[in-house]
């Protein structure tokens, strides 16, 4: 009996919006809409700000920045490892421009 009651109540709830009437917005809708449109028109950078304010965009931008930083740091580190010692580079320079000091013994 109780189960029958519940079924009846559920059916009553399901049919509660069968004869629903359409709701309408407030009479000031159009003037509010115009106000909103003019505000959006004047806010020139609103779209750009709104785009960057999206969590997806800001998180993606943060990851790109982190990646770029990581790439730059690893590049710098590699360059530092490859830089030859000062004495070797001076010797190479001297060899290239034939600046080796000749001594009397060599002549």
């Amino acid at each position: 009996m109780k189960q029958f009651d519940t079924v009846q109540k559920i059916e009553a709830i399901l049919s509660s919006i069968d004869s629903i009437e359409k709701a309408d917005a407030s009479p000031l809708f159009y003037s509010r809409l115009q106000l909103k449109m003019s505000k959006e028109k004047h806010g020139r950078y609103t779209h750009v700000i709104r785009f960057f304010a999206q969590p997806v965009v800001s998180i993606a931008a943060m990851f790109i920045l982190i990646l770029l930083n990581g790439f730059a740091i690893s590049n710098l580190w590699q360059q530092q490892r490859q830089v030859p010692s000062t004495s070797t580079s001076i010797n190479n320079f001297a060899k290239e421009y034939d600046l080796a000091i000749s001594t009397a013994y060599e002549q």
Binding site: I17, E21, F29, R32, L33
Partner: protein, 196 residues
Amino acid sequence: MEESQLIISLQNGDETAFATLVKSHRQMVFNTALGMIQNHEEAEDVAQDVFIQVYESISGFKGEAKLSTWMYRITITKCLDRIRRSNTKKRFAVVQSFFSKSSLQTNEPVNFYHPGVQLDRKEESAILFKAIAQLPDNQKIAFTLHKVEGLNYQHIAEVMQTSVAAVESYMHRAKQNLRKQLTAFYENNNYEYETI
């Protein structure tokens, strides 16, 4: 003004045509948004956004669908966006409450009373709207467009860009899910709702 004429005028940026469009489609957009979002102020805000988007993108409207169908699609998309954003905010508030000393301020949805429901059925409809809000998106869209907006299955299929059979399936599953939810609801709150 005929629809094709109205579209041409809108594409030419005619302000009077836009006012006519708002006047003729305001109820349709607002009622759909209200059924989906179940909040008067937010529904009006979404309805405004829909008309702004229509104004901005009418130049790209090629007339492949009826103007009303196109506007229903925009309304539904905006509503789903709004609902997702609101759910994200709620989840963020829950996470934030774990890290803050203050207790969680629960934004439990208050009962929604649709202004178009008969007075003697308001309580029942509030329970139903609460259950509709829990439905998956496709079922919610089909059920709301059919029951609240009064569209037939053919028109709903055009709005959702699917077949009539798919809409029938969404409706069938929506009713099944609603029955399940309401049964569970009655089993948990039997005492409170004995009086209804």
